[in-house]
Symmetry: C4
Subunit: 261 residues, 4 copies
Amino acid sequence: MHARTALAICLVFASAAAVRAQSRPPEVDPALIEDLVAANRILSHEKVLDSFGHVSVRDPRNPNRYLIARAVAPSLVTPNDILTADLDSNLIDAQGRTSYKERFIHGEIYKVRPDVQAIIHSHSPTVVPFSVTKYPLKPILHNAAFLGDGPPVFDPRDVAGATNLLVETPALGQAIARTLGKANIVLMRGHGDTVVGPNVRLATFWAIYAEVNARQLAQAIAIGGPITFIEGEEQRLTHQNMAKAYERPWEMWKREAMTAR
Amino acid sequence: MHARTALAICLVFASAAAVRAQSRPPEVDPALIEDLVAANRILSHEKVLDSFGHVSVRDPRNPNRYLIARAVAPSLVTPNDILTADLDSNLIDAQGRTSYKERFIHGEIYKVRPDVQAIIHSHSPTVVPFSVTKYPLKPILHNAAFLGDGPPVFDPRDVAGATNLLVETPALGQAIARTLGKANIVLMRGHGDTVVGPNVRLATFWAIYAEVNARQLAQAIAIGGPITFIEGEEQRLTHQNMAKAYERPWEMWKREAMTAR
Amino acid sequence: MHARTALAICLVFASAAAVRAQSRPPEVDPALIEDLVAANRILSHEKVLDSFGHVSVRDPRNPNRYLIARAVAPSLVTPNDILTADLDSNLIDAQGRTSYKERFIHGEIYKVRPDVQAIIHSHSPTVVPFSVTKYPLKPILHNAAFLGDGPPVFDPRDVAGATNLLVETPALGQAIARTLGKANIVLMRGHGDTVVGPNVRLATFWAIYAEVNARQLAQAIAIGGPITFIEGEEQRLTHQNMAKAYERPWEMWKREAMTAR
Amino acid sequence: MHARTALAICLVFASAAAVRAQSRPPEVDPALIEDLVAANRILSHEKVLDSFGHVSVRDPRNPNRYLIARAVAPSLVTPNDILTADLDSNLIDAQGRTSYKERFIHGEIYKVRPDVQAIIHSHSPTVVPFSVTKYPLKPILHNAAFLGDGPPVFDPRDVAGATNLLVETPALGQAIARTLGKANIVLMRGHGDTVVGPNVRLATFWAIYAEVNARQLAQAIAIGGPITFIEGEEQRLTHQNMAKAYERPWEMWKREAMTAR
């Protein structure tokens, strides 16, 4: 990179930070907004999110609020698109803008999972087939030990009969939070999954490796024969270790996603 | 590339804006032409169209006409390539240019489906395997509820014996329109599919998610066991809802396709 | 594109053409060299060729010679890399450069197939699995009717016992030419395939759709049940028709490959 | 991105050339460092390495040392990131930087395999499914003859009971070196593989074709029926030949990886 190009990039980012300072209440750490935007872009670039998914973080100023983009495709999210909602998913600062209809997923999970600071809902392409078959999405790759012994699967028919499959009401949001329980991820039948985590970088890591493990498990099933899963004490140790290992991939993914066209 | 070719490209770029203003009758909304061009580019960028597919819209000035590109690969279509045909698929304003030989697909469907305003014919790569096997391409992903209980499959052998598999006559166009019936999509054996819709953005959405659902269904089949499809009232509600949800993906796909090299 | 950028492109191409004129004997049509280079780049861009494949055309000045690149990865081939060989695959104008060790494939086929004007040898990734199993690579997609009722498979063990699998001798070149017979393509066990055609654009078309049909057939097999192939009179009509249809994809592929980084 | 981060990037770029000159002992051939960096970038670009893999070369100045990057994603490695370790995997010139926790893989293999000059550890995506099933990853493609009759599979449970699956101790490094034995590659259950070679270009070639062969073998298995592997004398001849054939792909891969965004 030319020094001149690098300087131009500096100026862009410097002025972007200034603009941002006015448009967001001063007490929100811009680094958190930057992470939230990066998570949207990374998950789009990695093809985990299509145009419909969404990512949120709990508001560090007020645990009864969360930050989420207006209703725009994740790959197009910028800092100015981030709105604030309360845990009933009412928008606080929308100024005429709307957010995702399914944001009840976020609000209702934040209510009952105080440990959760970030939530990702996606149509993760290879997770969907596992949501409509009986084969559990158990971990075969060490990076995917967070999957435990196979995530719970949410089916809205169990609680609400025939629906449009979307989580567009508080009641459905509460139902998916119940199905999630203490897990890190819940599959959604015919729809995708929702990943929750203690911060948005680790949740991003988990959302990506849920997709990677799904691909590799589907291949292992096609190869055939008994499959060795990551289970028991090994699962616990592996999960514990990988939960600290998200900074290196985050740096790489962010560089790739933010410099992509 | 020849110097002559490069020079030709220069001239095209230099004069495109000027030429465009005169080459289209003033009453066509340029936004519709832009959408038609964008659909060609989006579907190419998303790998639903190869070099042979085509996209049309019914002419808003005259419901007995439709707009379709000259015979050029969809990824290369520009506003200057759009021609007008009557419903017998005679070109009105070709000025020596030709369009796709299979344009009877478009004309004959527009004749019998007044609700249809846009048509896409593609060699959608993962739809082809479903066209030559007996497994119905039923929806497992909520975005694909438009597939109903599995689309009809058109086989030219049923009406015309051995052919070159292309829909190059009015009779074959009428036959595919009959097989389509009231559906949103008809598979074409050993060939691909044709998607019809109330506008070109929704038809684009459906063409893309037909391919996505085909990929995911093929994976679910390989995983094995009973598969939960989207059926009955749930299918109706999901389809109804998704039919209003195409603007967000359109914005993203268009940005990606039109800024691609 | 800015006019300035377009102008820069013009100048580059214009000077490239000038340079080329000196480096090639005047009687070779530069358009043929351009096609040969483009075929190398297209087939690399479409992932049919890895770094080892090669493409040749029969020399229009002398049917007992052919043009082929020096030993360089196809994605890096430029007009200056094109050498001339006789049909025993001796290089005529190498000036110290070497070409591919397997060029006997080309020379020996040109000897016995006067109808062949272009040859492509590739490690086409999804064709390889069909070369090591018994399932015939028969056409399910109309674009692939040139595959006939399944191409012959060349196994060097049948003629030479244990080898390094490469066609590095005249005898092995003659053997593959015999196995090819009158077909358009011959699979090579554990290796890839060789496609022959009446011109390099059609051969390129066939090499790409051999790979596409292999992918789609593998998926159809995984979906299961009886598969409808393109056979008999339908195969004949489809093949005849598609053999005239390569200009539209060529234009698209060339644009994409030659403007890629 | 923070203005602060952007500024840091500027400073890095501005001072990189200057720093580099001093940070490497003069006697290391810069061409070897360039190869090591290129291998990191190539294997990332080819999707064999995700953000966690690592590549090393034995130090040409001292066979009891090796060169490996600091703990950074391979796609981001630059010459300034290369550190030196002794064969107990103590860092010699870290200046406060850390390297990969699993670097014992490298040190312990270099100890017992004097023929090995380069080592690659990856989470090669299609190799993982073969590490958790019983199907041996035997070669079907001539380029993959280095796989022999199927590589050994390392399972840390066999030597250390439940672990986090990572090779983070000398004892586990010694165990994987024992499992590797005289092979060119060892699979690691639920984790990936480690490839060793006489130079970093050939090791890169092998790491890439291990992944390619895994993909093609998985497809052959799905196609079904008996599969013809490369075995016996044919395997020996093919392996011998391909072991000299890495320069052409290296040139192509390096061009593509180093010019990628």
